[in-house]
Amino acid sequence: MADIVQNLAIHTENLTKIFRDFWGHKRVVAVDALDLDIRMHEVYGLLGPNGSGKSTTIKLLLGLLYPTRGRAYVLGSPPGNVKINARIGFLPEDSHLYPFLNARETLDFYGRLFGLTRQQRRSRSESLLEMVGLSGVGGRLVGQFSKGMQRRIGLAQALINDPDLLILDEPTSGLDPIGTRQIKNLIQELGRRGKTVLLCSHLLADVEDVCDRIGILYGGKMQIEGSVADLLEQKEMTEIRTVRLPDEILEQIRQLIRRDQPSIPLEILTPRNRLEEFFLQTVSAAQAAAIETSGATAGSGVSDFLTDASETISRTEQVIEHLVHPAEWPVAEPSAAGSGLTEPVDPADPTGPSPSSSDQRKVLDSLVQVPAAAAEDENDHTQSSGSLTSPVAPAGPADAPAAPVKPASAGESVDRSLIEQLTRRRRQDSAAEPPESSSAAGDDPAVPKSPAPDEQT
């Protein structure tokens, strides 16, 4: 039993929370006999509608509430253990930061609570502010921040101790699509670095994009739990993706299918970009044109001080990992992803090797994603590629060529004409020297480096 608890990041047994009124009458059963296991180095998504018990579960795990029944263990200890708290990063639902402190002071304060040295506090604060895109407003009071900016600084404070376990309660609420994408990318990157992440949200797309496993709560009870791939795979459907095909070829394909399977539903569609993608392209173009903003900027990549938790895996485990997973994983050729038909890879394929979650993701990425260079070259093709879906194209990463499974995908298909248009307008407005490309945008893994305006013109 003790071993199980030690080897899990979070473990609950029959965890129950009943809220009672002043007279002790039972009012709400917020969490009902919850058994939850979250493994180390896993990104776990806790889903559920409002009032389903997600936030209460998190508060129970953090010792902010006490269970009515049952037990919980976080990193091997009961909640509220001060030593364990030093390894946890927590972003509450509404940030809840001191409004009278500015962004730098906020990070300094939380750094002090973790006992960081002055040098550490200073360097980590600057690095995190850069990462969340608030380095330009580090001297502004948090109380004057917009909600999205407060979420960003809230995320920064959750990371200042380089946590092993990150608990995020609705991390993307109030964020603009860029911020949402950045946080999702960040969670993915943290997951790659071996951090354990518990993500609590009712925004399904967020969870789907970043989580290894999910659990769905309703009425305080766990309704279903499993890996994202297992739960979302539509085993009865087939999807073929390729470039735009002439109508005659499409008709031939249709006839071919009808000939063998005349009764099955069949639909041939031209895919559309998601609005999120289009929005990101537009804003990326504006950032590339260095249009001024008083809000948050794009932010940079993941801060350097955030360690790779996988480095802490014991030597024995490394050997086992090495033996189980061959060093060379099959990486698909870019051309296979960019122009040819792709076949879905079943990660649970018993015949093949069983890669670790991060390796698995890399392999999947390489198989289903368009490499950045290839995507830029073939931008027009991507826009006009066709999709054969039977009967309806499933939503999710497979539906969007630039799905956020890969950090660089956000701006792979930035429309150069947009950049040129915005740059030209800005030059006309300011009649100033042509601005250099935004460093913030250039450093952002979510927003690929765009060519400098001079190069474009």
């Binding site: 953090l62 809840h96 002071e105 002090r112 609570l113």
Partner: protein, 470 residues
């Protein structure tokens, strides 16, 4: 310790950034105090009394305002964090709840100290200016220096030739008929009730006998003996005899002629020259005596003669009562400077702020902000009226012995701000005793404040921080 200091540091920063509060504090402490000094300057009255009024007003205003401020800030320190839920991000860091509370306490207490020192500096500086400009003649300046801007200690005397045993023995003898009469007429059978009745009758008789020994008929005299008088400067200067007299029959002009013989030996009636004063009855008077009348061991004998011209008035030196202590006869001597006294006054005021901060934090650790404020304000008002409450309880202790345990517990629970209030001392130029500071620290801060803080800590330690208690 780093975590405690972090919480304390940012608590101070939070208070500093409530700009409206800062402005209001500055207005009350600076503008009101300075404006009052200006108003006094243009007002009517002796210069020494103006300075005395200024000291009394400014110190009381500062003490009461900072007390209220300490209550509001400390009660809000935790409740704000809980209600705005900033506690979520703090309690999930490696900070123990006790460390968090201590940090909040330290931050609020440091801020109180800073403001008190600032206000104290302003009061002292303004007082110095007034002391320089207000006295219009040497007499006012001398009174100011000797009676107000100084630190005088009090010595209380014993009657020569009269002991407590003697008084009690006589009182018991005189009380016996009254006790027997009560036993007969009231038909008491319960031994406890009988004992309580006896004690009450004997105590009344002791007061009567004592009062009789403190009386001088026309032509009679009393000799008082003071010990332990240690003036700061034994070679020169004055000490002061302070007295208040009552009479059996009012003299026609409500004033008495008093004859005093003061010296280092018991036989002062024969060795010293008389000092004759004319004084109104039932009023406190002071007259100076050269310090060389003291013996080397700090003893002083004061013989009072009630001259026959006061006939038929018998002069009585009233006993100190629980409501009015120090009346009768006492000797005052300069034992220190005003600056030291002023600093001790500020220290005593600060101890009250520390106590209120602890109580405010303890209340805020569990209750919501308005309820916590209400609780602490009630305690504060009880503390301010502690003299009256203590008198009532003491009276009960002295008369109804059956309820002593409950009454003593009540006395222990009540914060007695008045008992540790230094302002009545400093405004009269009295020495603010170190013992007063020690008692305030031990009983008010450590014992009562500590107990309340411990209860607050336990409530906070086990409360669910994610639940706001309305």
């Amino acid at each position: 310790m780093g975590q405690i200091w972090a919480v304390a540091r940012y608590q101070v920063l939070e208070i500093l950034r409530i700009r409206s509060l800062m402005a209001f504090t500055g207005f009350v402490l600076m503008v009101c105090i300075l404006a009052f000094a200006v108003w006094l300057h243009y007002g009517w009255g002796p210069g020494d009394q103006k300075v005395q009024t200024y000291l009394s007003y400014s110190l009381r205003l500062t003490g009461n305002f900072l007390s209220l401020l300490a209550i509001f800030l400390s009660a809000g320190a935790v409740t704000r964090d809980v209600q705005r839920r900033e506690i979520f991000t703090i309690a999930t860091k490696p900070v123990r709840r006790g460390q968090y509370l201590v940090g909040k306490f330290l931050g609020t207490a440091l801020w109180n100290l800073a403001v008190l020192l600032l206000a104290g500096t302003a009061i002292y500086a303004t007082g110095c200016v007034l002391a320089h400009t207000e006295p219009r003649n040497d007499a006012e300046r001398r009174r100011l220096d000797e009676l107000i801007l100084t630190a005088r200690r009090t010595a209380t005397p014993t009657l020569v030739g009269v002991t407590d045993e003697m008084i009690e023995q006589q009182a018991r003898q005189e009380a016996q008929p009254q006790i027997e009469e009560n036993l007969r007429s009231l038909e008491m059978s319960d031994p406890m009730v009988v004992e309580a009745m006896k004690n009450r009758v004997i105590q009344d008789q002791i007061n009567k006998v004592t009062q009789r020994f403190r009386s001088a008929q026309p032509g009679g005299f009393l000799t008082w003996h003071f010990q332990g008088i240690r003036p700061r400067d034994p070679a020169s200067g004055s000490l002061f005899i302070r007295f208040k007299q009552d009479v059996s029959i009012n003299p026609p002009d409500l004033a008495l002629t008093n004859v005093w013989f003061i010296g280092p030996d018991p036989d002062v009636l024969h060795t010293q020259q008389p000092i004759i004063t004319q004084d109104a009855i039932r009023t406190v008077h002071e007259f100076p005596v050269p310090v060389d009348r003291l013996s080397e061991t700090g003893e002083l004998y004061v013989a009072y003669v009630n001259p026959v011209e006061n006939y038929p008035a018998t002069v009585v030196y009233p006993l100190p009562t629980r409501l009015r202590s120090g009346f009768g006869l006492e000797a005052l001597y300069i034992a220190g400077g005003f600056e030291g006294n002023f600093l001790r006054t500020l220290a005593a005021m600060y101890l009250r702020l520390v106590f209120l901060t602890a109580v405010g934090l303890a209340a805020g650790a569990y209750l919501s902000y308005p309820v916590a404020i209400l609780v602490v304000l009630v305690i504060y008002i009880l503390g301010l009226s502690s003299n009256f409450l203590a008198d009532a309880i003491n009276w009960q202790l002295a008369t109804v012995r059956e309820t002593t345990t409950a009454s003593r517990l009540l006395l222990l629970v009540f914060p007695q701000f008045a008992a540790y209030d230094p302002v009545p001392q400093i405004e009269k130029g009295r020495f603010v005793e170190w013992a007063l500071l020690g008692k305030a620290l031990a009983f008010m801060v450590v014992i009562k404040g500590g107990l309340i803080a411990l209860v607050g800590y336990l409530l906070f330690k086990f409360r669910e921080l994610a639940r706001v208690i309305a």
